[in-house]
Assembly symmetry: C2
Homo-oligomer: 344 residues x 2
Amino acid sequence: MRGEFARPATLADVANRAGVSAATVSRVLNRSTLVARGTRERVEKAIHELQYVVNGHARALAAAASEVIGVVVGDMSDPFFAHIVAGVQDQTFLAGQLALVCSTGSDPMREIGQLEHLRRLRADGVILVGGSVRDAGHQRELTRLLGGFHNRGARIVLCGRPPIPDLPGACAITFDNTGGTLRLMEHLKALGHTRIGYVTGPPLRSTSTERLHGYQIAAPGHDPSLIEQGTFTRESGWAASRKLLLRNDITAIVAANDLMAAGALAAVRSAGLSVPESISVAGFDDIEFCQDTHPPLTTVRLPLREAGAMAGRIACGLDAAPPSGVIRLGADLVVRATTSRVKA
Amino acid sequence: MRGEFARPATLADVANRAGVSAATVSRVLNRSTLVARGTRERVEKAIHELQYVVNGHARALAAAASEVIGVVVGDMSDPFFAHIVAGVQDQTFLAGQLALVCSTGSDPMREIGQLEHLRRLRADGVILVGGSVRDAGHQRELTRLLGGFHNRGARIVLCGRPPIPDLPGACAITFDNTGGTLRLMEHLKALGHTRIGYVTGPPLRSTSTERLHGYQIAAPGHDPSLIEQGTFTRESGWAASRKLLLRNDITAIVAANDLMAAGALAAVRSAGLSVPESISVAGFDDIEFCQDTHPPLTTVRLPLREAGAMAGRIACGLDAAPPSGVIRLGADLVVRATTSRVKA
DNA sequence: CTGAAAGCGCTTACAG
DNA sequence: CTGAAAGCGCTTACAG
């Protein structure tokens, strides 16, 4: 450990040792073909001997490219985001890029700040994960910022959120939130349910409103008092379900995601009722644990990891975005044991 | 959109507009106090008008500091990692740093490559999350690489893995894996269990061996055939449990994490047995969903998010590491409904 | 196929 | 309190 790391070797050191110019070393590094075989080998030997590692900042500064892909998520402890990010990382790894994962702590307004961070680092690609916020000022600011990325040649991908009309450069990967919820509702209606409570996600988010929309289209009666507000956490699903259970007319509770559905399951049980005998329950996303809840949860499956992988490939430039700029992903009904025919 | 983003404003642009030198702008940016009030205000005005955003790479290159914290994890889709990362991000956000999350895709050998990436970007701090691999060559390489970070003044934190003796600069945040498993085993023994199957994690990882060690200390009989190999996934827990159930003498299955315990639950049920009447089951970690399994899972609680937060604070320089260099975190037994007294 | 030179956008002593 | 100048470690036309 004799201070051999005190100053990392630089490209100039490598050039010296190999007896070539810095430009030549740079060419070897960047796999330019315009280097003679023998020269290349001498340089590679020097790189190896010096344990040379290119300085990413210097490279980014000189080349105006950073090998960094920015990923903006809500909260890593939510499996929805965790699975998408896992998919992104599978691909950034293959592409030799680095995923810079920024979290907004579930406050979408913080997207702006995180994007500024990413702009500072001149990210080559940016992936915005999860629902967008319906707020004119925020949208305008977001569009402006993303426009800045786009103008510098950065690829921008929206994953799990709708396209931004003013931003033709961006690719959007969307989930069929409305259709999935609709199919789930049809399933319940076919089982005889007519009074179905709904636990929605936080207001003004595209994920929430799209899913809620599916409910409203299918909801028998359109009674707004059947809708309770949640925040996509288990805890909030529990609280919202408690309120819903205060009324005695509902036969089913649908939550806008699985985490809240888990809370609903617990709330139903704590009210002394059983699932699905007294109340049917369903979620959305189909995270792995839905197989293990009591009873196993009926839900709607989203291809989260695949969506993340697609976003990653496009952001890294491995795949091109489709001409339309939009990739629509399905949302399949998964019937398990928390939903059953309503008793006469 | 008239190409107003074509070239982002530079520090020189700001200096021009404010009628000062670049050095002065830099001082304002870095909150140096040695700037006259009026000058500062003029510069801030120019920054605002130009929508100037500092170039992180130029800054990192000039100042040899990067405002980037590297986090190396196994797999983001595993809640163990997701929760720790969420805790890290809470703190990097507060510190105004950026968390660069690298995944090894559950192959710890890939740690080396990811660390080289981080070295390239001159990360100010590095957090290695999760178990280490018992492989002499790998350990040597790791120590060398981390030594390089340390010599450049980067803070290094091991989160959920044992300290590295040859690396005095590093801080280690450890979980009481052995003690937690031991307490879980004592709980089962007190319920009358004497033949307890164990589903271990992947071999040679500290997390696996520490937890297995707790089992071995407490295991009545030390019969090695009671131990089956898993990989920390639900699927592997299912397969290992199936094997364990082939023998008819066991009355309980303990898995090295909750994901595998969920698989065990499913395996027991698919064998036509019930939990806990026929077989008791327990896990490790206490991820949120343990409350919702069928029945709710007895497990050992690890303070994952808190551990991540501590790691984040130290890596960002918000908190100092303790003099000993080691922070030991508890692991509390959480008894739910998957464990019960063995029938006479 | 290779090199000399300028430049990327900052920070930091050094003067004043 | 402020500025001129050098330097951080690369890449990229431009010549040859």
